[in-house]
Structure formats: C-alpha cells, structure tokens
C-alpha cells in the first residue's frame, strides 16, 4: 500500500507493507543510505532518525507509524557539513569506520535541540544507546560540547 510521510522536508510516497521497518523503506525504497542497520533490535542506535523531532530507532518503527509525520535522517543535517554538529565531528576527527556516526549524530542533534548546554550526565543519557565499535565515544562527547557552545552563541 502507499504510505506518505515527510522525509527531510519533502513528501514521499512509498509502496510497502505497513509493518515494514522505516529503516528499510528509507534505505531501499527511497534510496537514502546514510541511516544504517546494526542490530535490528533497537540495541545499537545505528538506525536512529527523528520522528517529529524525537529520536527513534527506525529498525523497530513500522512505516505505518510515520504516515503523515515528519522524519529526518542524517542527510537532513546538511550536505555541505555546515551543521554545528557535523563541523564539530570533523574538528574533533570523530569518525573511524564511520558506520555508527549517522546514528550518533541524530541522537546528538536530538539532545541539542532540547538542551544547548548538556552536562556529562545528559550526554551519557542521550548517547549510551548508540554503540561505536571503533571506540570514538570521547571524541563524540567533546564534539557535542563544542557544537553546543556554537549553538548557544549563534
């Protein structure tokens, strides 16, 4: 069946069974591959996107649940890496393999949308659902603080 939702500011209409996870609709139907598959069980955060501004695990969200709503993926931050978090990610040289970073960035974006001055505990709470096997956690923490400072001063 056809399901419509807003993806990164554009309305998309997809043909998929209603129980198809949003992750696979975004990746295979729409063709935006920044959002990654890691565990299929909401345990690793690689598939994190925003639903109406809140972070969700797209591997566990049926596409039927997003009909008529706003979905944002890593591609929405900016193509030219001008978003404060993308800039901070590059400044702190966060990515190694990079596979988890789309999810990390979307969790971090959701955190900073509500809290422009996160404490270490706030970062722990917002980010501990996102696994990184390359071990980039400390750089992620530093980059979030840097981006938060830029956003406060903007």
């Amino acid at each position: 069946m056809a399901i419509s939702f807003n993806l990164n500011g554009t309305t998309v209409s997809v043909q998929a069974e209603p129980d198809t996870p949003l992750l696979w609709v975004i990746r295979d139907e729409v063709g935006l591959t920044g959002t990654k598959f890691g565990c299929g069980a909401a345990l690793c955060g690689a598939c994190t996107v925003h639903l109406n501004g809140s972070p969700i695990r797209s591997c566990q969200t049926p596409v039927s649940a997003v009909a008529g709503k706003k979905v944002a993926t890593v591609e929405s931050l900016s193509a030219d890496n001008s978003h404060p978090l993308q800039k901070a990610w590059i400044k702190h040289q966060v990515p190694q393999c990079g596979y988890c970073q789309s999810g990390q960035l979307m969790s971090a974006t959701a955190l900073l949308s509500k809290n422009k001055n996160p404490s270490d505990a706030d970062i722990d709470n917002a980010m501990s659902g996102n696994l990184c096997r390359c071990g980039t956690y400390n750089r992620i923490r530093a980059a979030i603080k840097d981006a938060a400072a830029e956003m406060r001063n903007a």
Binding site: G34, G40, V74, I90, D124, R133, C134, G135, R141
Partner: protein
C-alpha cells in the same frame, strides 16, 4: 594484462568520468593496450587524470584505521601535491597489491603503514620522476633542471600540470632507483592531517558494503545452520515462497537462502521456512566447558613446542628459589561484532563473477568465489567499498562463497546481508587460551627463573593449513616479555577443541599480555615492591630503552603513586607488539561487583608516525575495543550453538562506560610500528592490576567482571 585489471580500472575511473588510457605495471606483462580516455596510470599506485586529479590506488581496505588518509599522504609527500586534492580507491585483487608483511592481499595485522612506508613513498617518487622526465623530453631540457611542486612541473620558464604530462609519463618505463625525500623535508608525513574520509562519514554519503548497489540487484537473507559448519538436508519452502517479493529459495552449503526483491521481503520470508532438517556435523555437542576441559587435558597429554630456545634452566632455578609464585590465566572466546554486519554482493554471469563489498582479503574473496563457482580466479573481480569495521572478521571470506552460490543459483546479482544474530552465532571466534606461569624469586624478591606455557587453538592451522606440531607465530605474540630474568622457558601447546577460530584484533597478544602483565604484578606483590619500580628493575640494558621510556612516561602522566580514595587504584601494563612499544595505566574503582574504569593513560612509541592524529584515534579505539572484551564480552557455546544473540547479551562498552583516555606519543625516527591493534591488549591486564589494587582481589580470567564474581 588481465580482464580483471581493465575492469577495475574502468570502474575505478567512474568517479572522475574518464576511462583508462594507458598503464604500466611492473612484472605484470608490460604496457596495457591503449584505449580512449584520459586517465593515466604511471605505476600500480597512482592514477593521474587530465584534470590533474590524482588518485591513490590503495592496496589496503579502509575499515576505520585511516589508511585512506595515511597512505595517500605517503604518495602525496613524494609527489608534492595538496593532500586534500588526492582521491583514493581500493585496489582490485591482484598480485601487485599483496601485503609484503603477510604474503597475501590482506588488510590486517597492523601492517598497513609498515608495508606502505617505503613502498608508497617509492611509488610516489617514481611517478614524480616520470612526470619530470616527460616534461624534460617535451621541452628538450635536462630533467635535473626541473622541479615538481603543487601538481606542476616547472623550470627554465616552462611549466605544465601533472595531468597534461601524465599520458607521456605513463609511457616512460618505471624507474628502478628513485631518491626519497629526507625526513627533514617532509611536509605531510608526521602531521595530524584531517582524515579525507571524515566529511563523507558525517553527512551520510560514505558508501559501505551495505550501501553498494549494482543494476538488477536482489537481496538474500540466509537461514544458517544453528551449529557452525552444519548443512541443510531438507526444508519446506512452500509458505515462504508465497511471501511478498520472494524470487527463489535455494539451499547453499551452510544454509537456506531466501532471495527477494528487497531485503525486508527476504528476511520476512526467511522466518516462514519450515521443518528445516540439518546435518549438524561433528560439533553438535560441543560446549565451552568441554573446550576448557580439553584444553586442560592437553596440558598433560600434548607435547609442547618451544616458543624460543630455553635460556638457562628455569626448572632448576625455580626449584632452588626462596619463593615460588604460580598462576594460571584464562582468556575467553571472543566475537568480532563489527557494527556493519556481514554483507557482500556477487554478480555471477557465465564463467565470470563480480564481487562488491566490505572485505579485508580481496585475494581470498576472489579465490573463494572462484572455487565455489568452479571458475578461474582471474575471472573474479573484487570491488571493495568502505568497511563498517573489520577487526579481523572480514579476513575470513565465507561471505564471498555464500554470495557467489546464491547469485549463481538465481542468475542475478545478489546482495547477502546477515542479521546481528547471524553475526553473533556464525563468527570466526578468537580462541580461548590458558596461560600457565611459574616463577621463582630470590630472597630479595628478584625473579631467578620463569616458565610460561600457553595452551590454545591454532587459527593458522585451520584457516591457512599451517602444518600441525609447528609453531604458530600468531599464538605466541608477546608471550616472551621483555624482563631480564636469567632462566626462562616458554612453551606452546596446541589443542584443537573443534570450534571455528578467527583472527580478532590483536590476536594472541591479548591473552599473552593479560597473563604476563598480571603475573608481573603478582611477582611485585610477592616481592613487596611497587609494580612500576619492580618492572623498571627488570628492564636494565640498552635493548630495553624503549620499554623504559613508555613505562616511565605513562606512570608520570597518570600520576603513579598518588593517593586515591579507598576502592580506587591504578594498574599498569607494558607490551611490545607489531613493532610498537606501549604502556598503559588504568584508573579503576570497584563498587560491589561493578568495575568502573575512570581513565586510561597510554604512552606509545610506534617509531616514525605518518599521521599522529590517526595514531591517537587507533590507540583510543583499541583501548575501548579491548576494554569491551576485558570487562564484559563473552562468547559461550552449548550444544554446539553460540548462546549469545545480540548486543543485549554480548555486552560492549557504551558511552557512559567509556573512560577518559590520555594519549602520549614519543617522537621517534625508528621505522614505523603498527598501531591498529597493540592498545587492545594492554587494557585487560592494566584493569586487572588496578582491580587487585582497589579491591584486593586478583582476577585471573577474562571477562573480568565475571571473573571478579568468583575471585
């Protein structure tokens, strides 16, 4: 010149929209036939396009370790070009790209920089020399009057871009003797150049294996035998075949593959396959307990292999010692669990096959696909994407065989993708290891003799056919510690407990360093000595200078000896691995049974660094990877089946558990050491030693939190 190479060069050139004009490959049969286009390949390492775009052909896969920045730096250094304008592509499967340190086209073993250090600088200098010669020929001047800078050859009032000279340069024989820059003239090497792949990894445009597509591609999800190496005998696919999008359901060697138009359709239908009967094979009753029991039995029944000739007489020295210390250490089975699951595309057409995806072993993928298809290896092309982590998992190329079988069966290009559960239960696992140590101390507490026996499984026997009863060098890494002890005996007992093994980041360094460095603290305790001072007292002599330097630096930076609150302590470890000298100090507290690692200080002498920024990344990442295995990660087996299934029961370090890490690099002009792996191995003993100091409990088995419960 082979079809493989031509096909690769065509595909590699897609990024710049041009085709191959010419190339010359030393030892590969001379000049390639001319073709229309504007990409020039003076030697096996470099393409230069008319528009002056320079592309490094990397013989190493980018799996996070930064080689698609550090390797082009080596080329750009000698070519005198802006590193930010250099593009990178991964080499095809070809003998020209064999890793000289491993003898196969493998990315692993912390060898990338060590293998490339001279190879790629020579490659860059060759191309520079050829470009200058082409300009000299063109202008009728002496080559020595010309310089190559910033993508231009110039001199005597003439100048030309590398791109405009590349066609002529590519027709000049590759010079044998070229002069390399003196280290004092380096502009790039040694600098923390930002990673070239970082921009694409923060805006979703980086293409990993899972993102790659080929025209007409369909997807497969494979129900694999619950016991590794089991085979499907029969199954009922009727219900599954009726599921949306299903194209076919085919049996392959170790499973049943559901092929569909989308991944989700393939995965959904896979769950509808009924009544699968498996031939589970010989491993159907295996358990971790049985593996350990067999390992212990082998200590008594299997002849030991000498790791190195005995020094003096350790047995006699221990027998005559004032005090004897004995301990055994256990290191658990471990899975890789890179975040991008196993994924690979095969496109089999007649007697050819194109493979695309995440691999650490292009030659192996090529050979495996060729073998299962019964075609010539040179008819198999390998296109390597970015890897969403490797850690050794993608050295084992079972996925190439699976993808090739499925593609052949359905006559279409197929992408296979594993689930996390598939990944957890069908890995190639780091062997478990039992290290037994015994030392004698004299009245002053100084060791007079030491025996160290490792009993474990040989990965190299299973995967590469190393003859039995032969020393496997990948089992005894760092088993011989640097300490000056007059009588030593180092032995290896190889026991095959029958479960699929694989090389995992740092391989046997982890078990051997855990044993050696834990034991060193136990000896210091028996001697009533400080662990750092005790180690330093055993590291006299010029040959140990680099060990002393990293140990002192780590201790100083960590504030070794400072007073800490009750229940909180520092622990130290020291090791050489991959030509890199390293010390770590972990600051740890223990509350109840919970271990919290607050901070890790690491001092590292890895010789000449190409990119110290990437070195730091690797040390940090190795510590977190090692900490996950040291504290939490555990693979257990029952009835031949891995008991863990996903990240809920295979625990890895998360953001809230990640310690602060302080990296200190020692400047050096020694030849480069490897940095991808060593830091993984020191964190276990550093934390175990800190736990002993903080909680008064010596944990001699990993994972440490589990070991702490029974300590």
């Amino acid at each position: 010149m082979t079809t493989t190479r031509r096909e690769f060069l065509k595909s590699a050139s897609l990024g710049t929209g041009v085709a191959v004009l010419s190339m010359y490959v030393p030892g590969m049969g001379g000049k390639e036939a001319q073709a229309a286009g504007s990409m020039h390949t003076p030697n096996v390492w470099v393409h230069i396009a008319d528009d002056n775009t320079i592309t490094l052909i990397s013989h190493m896969s980018e799996m996070g370790q930064g080689v698609h920045t550090s390797l082009p730096m080596l080329i750009a250094e000698e070519l005198n070009v802006d590193i930010n304008k250099v593009k990178v592509t991964t080499a095809p499967a070809d003998p020209a790209y064999v890793n000289g340190l491993l003898g196969a086209q493998i990315t692993g073993g912390s060898t990338s920089i060590r293998d490339a250090w001279e190879k790629l600088r020579i490659g860059g200098a060759q191309v520079r020399t050829m470009l200058i010669q082409a300009a000299a020929n063109k202008w009728g001047v002496d080559a020595s009057s010309l310089t190559a800078e910033n993508g231009m050859v110039s001199g005597g009032g003439n100048s030309a871009t590398y791109g405009s000279l590349a066609a002529a340069a590519a027709s000049i024989p590759v010079p044998k003797d070229v002069k390399l820059k003196d280290a004092s003239d380096f502009r790039l090497v040694g600098k923390a150049i930002p990673r070239l792949d970082a921009p694409s990894k923060v805006n979703g445009t980086a293409i990993f294996g899972i993102d790659a597509k080929v025209p007409g591609m369909v997807y497969a999800s494979i129900e694999m035998s619950p016991v590794i190496e089991g085979k499907p005998v029969s199954f009922d696919a009727e219900a599954a075949k009726k599921m949306p999008g299903v194209i076919d359901i085919v049996a392959i060697d170790n499973g049943v593959a559901v092929v569909a138009d989308t991944y989700w359709h393939a995965f959904s239908a896979r769950k509808k396959i009924k009544s699968i009967k498996w031939d589970l094979g010989a491993g159907a009753n295996l358990s971790t307990a049985e593996m350990w029991a067999g390992t212990r039995a082998a200590e008594k029944t299997v002849d030991a292999i000498k790791v190195r000739p005995d020094v003096g007489d350790a047995k006699a020295a221990i027998a005559g010692a004032a005090k004897v210390v004995k301990a055994e250490y256990m290191t658990q089975l471990m899975g890789h669990q890179q975040l991008e699951p196993t994924v690979f595309i095969a496109d089999v057409r007649g007697d050819t096959c194109v493979l695309t995806g995440s691999t650490q072993f292009q030659q192996g993928a090529q050979g495996t696909a060729a073998a299962v298809l019964g075609i010539k290896p040179e008819n198999v092309t390998v296109n390597t994407t970015l890897l969403g982590g490797g850690f050794g998992r993608r050295v084992c190329v079972d996925y190439a065989g699976q993808a090739a079988q499925v593609s052949k069966a359905v006559g279409r290009p197929v992408k296979i993708l594993w689930t996390r559960e598939d990944e957890m239960k069908n890995d190639f696992y780091r062997p478990l290891g039992l290290n037994r140590l015994e030392a004698g101390l004299d009245a002053s507490g100084k060791p007079v003799g030491i025996k160290h026996q490792l009993t474990s499984k040989s990965i190299t026997q299973v995967l590469f056919g190393l003859p039995k009863k032969t020393l496997d060098p990948f089992m005894v890494e760092a088993q011989v510690a640097p300490y000056n002890i007059p009588n030593t005996a180092h032995d290896l007992i190889i026991h095959d407990y029958g479960f699929r093994p694989g090389y995992l980041r740092a391989v046997s360094h982890t078990m051997n360093c855990f044993a050696n460095e834990s034991f060193m603290d136990e000896l210091a305790a028996a001697a009533g000595a400080d662990p750092v001072a005790y180690r330093l007292s055993l590291l006299q002599g010029k040959e140990n200078e680099r060990f002393v330097a990293v140990l002192k630096l780590a201790a100083e930076k960590a504030g070794w000896g400072r007073k800490l609150p009750k229940g909180r302590a520092l622990g130290v470890a020291l090791m050489e691995g991959y030509g890199t000298y390293m010390a770590q100090v972990a600051e740890v507290s223990v509350t109840g049974g919970v271990v919290k690692v607050h901070k890790v200080t690491v001092a590292c002498d890895c010789g000449h660094t190409v990119n110290p920024g990437i070195v730091s990344q690797q040390l940090e990442g190795g510590i977190i990877y090692g900490l996950s295995g040291a504290l939490y990660g555990d693979i257990t087996v029952k009835n031949g089946r891995v008991e863990q299934s996903n990240f809920n029961d295979f625990r890895i370090v998360r953001q809230n558990e990640s310690p602060e890490i302080s990296v200190h690099l020692i400047a050096s002009t020694e030849k480069p050491g490897g940095v991808g792996e060593p830091s993984t191995s020191l964190i276990g003993p550093a934390v175990a030693n800190a736990i002993a100091a903080a909680a008064g409990k010596r944990v001699r088995s990993m994972p440490l939190e589990k070991g702490l419960k029974s300590a």
